[in-house]
């Protein structure tokens, strides 16, 4: 027996791709059974590579991992029979109907006919696909397809469900629905759910535990409240009159001793300070001295954005490479 306690254990995973791109750089985390765990990070942080290793699609250069207590590297076949996987791309055969895709999945997992029929009917109902069941998947909307993908991954009642960016491309309503299903799975059926996302708000609202991934490493881990509480202090959010003034403003704030860290996102600038109300006059004075006009100021408790900024040393949006004009 091993001393494995988590439903998913990743230890010091390392992986580089051809051309020397280092995707994983000693990534470790542990997922409690029956919980929803989010790997949160910008595109390119290493989330997909991690999921690919855990679902046996890819092998790491170093480190080890277990899923449901089974070693991913030495027993990939056994891992495959206890996991469900929803990748970024659909995975449904588009010329088959939704019903046929679900039945195929059950047959691959050698489910008995009666059990499979019952399970498929149950999932079609649960995912609102009863009407569409006999239609070819190529006629489905993006949201229906995604629901079918998740239903397919659940046909064989996996112990651990992996979802790689499942909510990308869904409308806000669809995202909320999907998250409701995932949290329900964990609480009602004890399924362990590992989901990757680059939406801070989603991880914040729905995941029991969050691991923040940056450049192939976990930089912080905990539930959303813990992560925020660890960042003592406040966030001062400044709306600048001129988006191009951000650089100037950050420079001006380096001369304000109360400011620990800054991050600009277009005309929005956040400054981390120990005590928001007390630091505010100094912040504003510093900006005025630097000749940066400010439109509005808000003092707030830290958000996950601030958590990310603190641990990764840059703002989430910067890391994503999004430039706001």
């Amino acid at each position: 027996m091993t001393d494995v306690t988590g439903a998913v254990e990743a230890t010091d995973l390392r992986k580089s791709f051809k051309g020397g791109v280092r995707a994983l750089d000693g990534l470790s985390f542990s997922v409690a059974p029956g919980s929803v765990f989010a790997l949160l990070g910008p595109n390119g942080a290493g989330k997909t590579t991690t999921v690919r290793i855990l679902t046996t699609l890819s092998r790491p250069d170093g480190g080890r991992a277990t899923v449901a207590g089974i070693d991913v590297l030495s027993r990939p076949g056994q891992v495959r029979s206890v996991i469900g996987s929803v990748s970024q791309r659909s995975g449904a055969v588009s010329q088959l109907t939704g019903y046929e895709n679900l039945v195929m999945q059950g047959k691959i997992y050698q489910m008995r006919r009666a059990d499979l029929q019952r399970r498929v009917a149950e999932l079609l109902g649960q995912f609102g696909l009863v009407q569409a069941a006999r239609r070819q998947v190529r006629t489905y909307s993006g949201g229906m397809r995604r629901r079918l993908d998740v239903a397919t991954a659940l046909v064989h009642r996996p112990a651990v469900l992996f979802l790689d960016e499942p909510t990308t491309g869904l409308d806000p309503e669809g995202r909320a629905e999907l998250w409701a299903v995932l949290t329900g799975l964990a609480s009602a059926e004890g399924t362990t759910v590992l989901v990757t996302t680059h939406y801070l708000e989603e991880a914040d609202r729905f995941a029991a535990k969050i691991a923040i991934v940056d450049q192939g490493r976990i930089v912080a881990e905990g539930n959303s409240e813990q992560l925020k509480a660890r960042l003592q202090g406040d966030s001062v959010q400044l709306e600048l009159a001129d988006a191009h003034g951000a650089e100037l403003a950050e420079k001006a704030l380096t001369r304000v001793p109360q400011v620990r860290q800054t991050a600009a996102d277009g005309a929005m600038l956040r400054a981390r300070v120990a005590d928001g109300p007390r630091a505010l006059p100094a912040v504003l004075a510093g900006l005025e001295a630097g000749g940066v006009p400010v439109l509005s100021v808000t003092v707030a408790r830290p958000s996950l954005d601030d958590v990310y900024l603190h641990y990764a040393g840059r703002s989430f949006r910067q890391a994503e490479g999004i430039t706001v004009a």
Partner: protein, 258 residues
């Protein structure tokens, strides 16, 4: 056995069902060989009169050639389904499920075998309607179909392997076309090798397509050539095993890339 069971699941719940949903594909698959038979039949009608060909009915000569050529052409596209599966995420879904890698190959080959049997039977029936005669009888026809399946699966294994390595439609199309046309025309599929330049005849001796065409022609001819038919079929079976094994290994290259 898991390999057989999973191949059967994939063949029936996926490949054959998908084919049934695409009647246009069935139509095109069956029309294409008809065109070859009519076209080459008309184009080369008089070649049997060339001294040295040996006379006889050209449609009788041509039918096994078209059977083999069609098997080769359609199986050379087998890998396209893999590329589609890689693009759509279906491949990753299968690779994370408890399906042996070899079953992914054998399911695809089994599907190709079914297609080839139907296609070959249609061509043989049409050839007969156009005047071809098969002194080898039912056994000869069965042997021709079996041989067309062998060459189709050898080519399909190669096509799957190329698909897993190249992972791009353009590359697979270029490779298939470059391979398939010379293989067909450097064989006795359309013309007796007694009439072609020496170097072509020499090359043809090492060409699996020529093995298949010659073996098929001997089989339906009903002459006493069963030993030759058997040894050609053996060579083709070896080629099939080699390409199927190579394509199973090519999954590793694909997985390294993801």
């Amino acid at each position: 056995m898991n390999l057989v069971r999973q191949s059967w699941v994939l063949l029936t719940t996926r490949y054959l069902r998908q084919l049934y949903r695409q009647p246009a594909v069935i139509g095109i698959t069956l029309t294409q060989p008809v065109i070859w038979l009519l076209l080459f039949g008309a184009l080369f009608k008089k070649v049997t009169e060339i001294p040295g060909f040996g006379g006889g009915n050209y449609i009788t000569y041509l039918t096994p050639g078209v059977v083999v050529m069609t098997a080769l052409f359609s199986s050379s596209w087998t890998g396209m389904a893999y590329i589609e599966d890689m693009d759509s995420g279906v491949m990753d879904r299968f690779l994370t499920a408890p399906i042996p890698r070899a079953a992914l190959i054998t399911a695809s080959l089994a599907y190709q075998a079914v297609t080839t049997v139907v296609q070959s039977a249609v061509i043989i029936a049409l050839g007969w309607a156009m005047g071809a005669r098969f002194p080898g009888g039912a056994a000869g026809i069965a042997a021709l179909i079996a041989i067309s399946v062998l060459i189709a699966l050898a080519m399909a294994g190669l096509s799957n392997g190329l698909a897993l390595l190249a992972r791009q439609r353009e590359t697979l199309i270029a490779a298939s076309t470059t391979l398939v046309l010379p293989l067909t025309f450097l064989s006795g599929a359309f013309l007796s090798l007694r009439l072609v330049p020496g170097w072509i005849a020499a090359t043809a001796r090492f060409n699996p397509v020529n093995w298949a065409a010659s073996a098929g022609r001997l089989a339906i001819g009903g002459q006493s050539g069963w030993g030759t038919v058997g040894s050609y079929a053996g060579f083709l079976a070896i080629a099939l095993v080699l390409t199927a094994a190579a394509s199973t290994r090519a999954f590793r290259a694909y997985q390294r890339s993801v």
